[in-house]
Symmetry: C2
Subunit: 332 residues, 2 copies
């Protein structure tokens, strides 16, 4: 029997375990072109909050009673697709289930010879690509510039900061709590970092950490940190909006300082982006990220929750910052 999580109800604010229902079902027969994947790791990501809401977004929401959406990596258990044989390691949009029947054309083979397969969901997966294109294309960061990253201890943020350092930028980040700040400074090599939860004077802290202003801002969180960053941006600044986790669970409209006057005075640009805008260029990113991993200049952390039944718990933990680096569930 397979196990899977259905969307049982829509959250009103922060998601709760009861929004997801664990059910058992037989594994379907494979049709021609399909592959049966046995998930080893499943990803939980902030973007999933949008998929379980009916608010307008870039993708249609998961319907009540449908399998919860998400990406998994694992071993091919059976294949009726010419590119896959049993035993291959592959990654794809499997949903929250132990076994998934996926169209082979939607599955990517993953070379796990040199790296753990879990990286297919992190630094060598969607979050790594998001960091790479957001930093190099949306922010268009240049050597010597100051790059600020919110959510710096999360998956995307931790990659962005390190990639910016590799590109010769001066990197500053925000994170939630002293242990994350320590990690960002000592393990990831940021030049500056601050605990947004423990700071009452965000403007003062940013001024101290970014004495020459901010040229690029990679925003994973939104909220008060983002408002403060706009007070420190330089002429010609580029701001990439990648995530707004601070407001994903908001029940009222989100108000704050209007940024238009600042954009005008600073001739600055703010751009929201999704990684799949870059799908024609993924091939250029993988070898670069791989090279940085091999050389040791890029490292990664994972927060691994063990047990398929803990999927909802792991997902909900994202919103209180339970993760250092990539949050994953190991399907045991």
């Amino acid at each position: 029997m397979n196990q899977l999580f259905l969307l049982a109800s829509r959250p009103d604010g922060v998601p709760e375990p009861a929004n997801f229902q664990l059910v058992e079902a037989p594994v379907p027969e494979l049709a021609e072109g399909q592959v049966l994947l046995e998930n080893h790791y499943l990803s939980v990501d902030p973007y999933m909050r949008g998929r379980i809401s009916t608010a307008k977004s870039y993708a249609k929401p998961v319907e009540l009673g449908e399998v919860m959406t998400g990406t998994g990596v694992g071993r091919v258990a059976a294949s009726r697709h010419e590119r896959f044989v049993a035993g291959d390691i592959a990654v794809g949009l499997t949903g929250w289930q132990r076994y998934a029947v996926v169209d082979g054309s939607q599955l990517r083979k993953f070379d796990a010879a040199l790296v753990p397969i879990s990286t297919a969901l992190g630094v060598l997966g969607m979050p790594g690509l998001t960091a790479y294109f957001g930093l190099t294309d949306v922010c268009a960061a240049r050597p010597g510039e100051t790059v600020m990253v919110s959510g710096a201890a999360g998956a995307v943020g931790s990659y962005v900061g390190q990639m910016a350092r590799i590109l010769g930028c001066r990197v500053v980040g925000s994170a939630g709590g002293p242990e994350k700040v320590r990690h960002v400074l000592e393990d990831l090599g940021f030049e500056g970092a601050f605990d947004y939860k423990g700071t009452s004077d965000l403007n003062g802290v940013l001024k101290g950490l970014c004495p020459n202003g901010i040229d690029c801002y990679f925003d994973n969180t939104g909220g008060a940190v983002t408002d403060a960053v706009f007070r420190r941006i330089n002429t010609g600044a580029r701001i990439a909006i990648c995530g707004q986790i601070a407001s994903y669970n908001a029940v009222a409209e989100d108000y704050g300082p209007r940024i238009f006057r600042t954009l005008l005075v600073k001739q600055a640009r703010v751009q929201g982006f999704l990684v799949n805008q870059y799908k024609d260029r993924y091939r250029e990113a993988y070898p670069k990220i791989g090279e940085w991993l091999r050389s040791g200049s890029l490292t990664y952390r994972e927060t691994i929750v063990e047990g398929f039944e803990k999927m909802p718990e792991a997902f909900i933990g994202l919103f209180s910052g339970q993760n250092l680096g990539k949050m994953l569930v190991k399907v045991v």
Copy 2:
């Protein structure tokens, strides 16, 4: 004797006539390389509000007791610069004065054979270039797209809307009052327009006028119109922030709905710009604008206040929307 306006005090909120002091002074002798320009028209523009404030901006503020900054066009009365002779028509940053001594290298000769010289301050000057580059480069408007313009009856807005129409876009605009709305629809050929002052349901009005959403937004005003536009933008929308006249006189911080989540969901871009970012490309714009004027596809209006002594009045009138098209002072 020359007459000139000095900045006497800084406004707190909306500027008042007493912020400017009319004084008389002898016309200085010309040094080598200088030109004496007798102004025929002087421009008043919303951007000048920023120059008389001490708030951080892209240019240093006018100091108290200094000549008020601004552009004028007129006749060369005397020249010690090789490119100019008495009788030439020229335009430059003269400040608010009847006679200005200007470095010849900072003056642009203006060909008034086919067009009135006042156009050097409007459609064939800074506002025209602002419209052209903001629309074609910052917004990157494409045929068939819906372009929304705020301040559509003002100088820049009226050019933007007509240029967008010429480029094959569907154009909608906002303006203050029924007469301006009539002008925008009947004289300028917008497909839709609304009176933002007479509208309580901006969201509903925009929905009706832009049934297919908004692809490009050229913002001259900011305020509630801009907030409503963000609720209607399409995926991949481009927003050019050119002016924020609604908040130039604000004394408190400007609050409104945060736009970051919308930018993310819509993969949209907002960019503040100044026309002088494009100074290396002015030459490509002039012939196009001139061609549109000659063919009659682009028209312009001017609101001309007569009398040099009325400079402050004309300037202050911008903030209550006294102008249709370009606001000018005729130096008589």
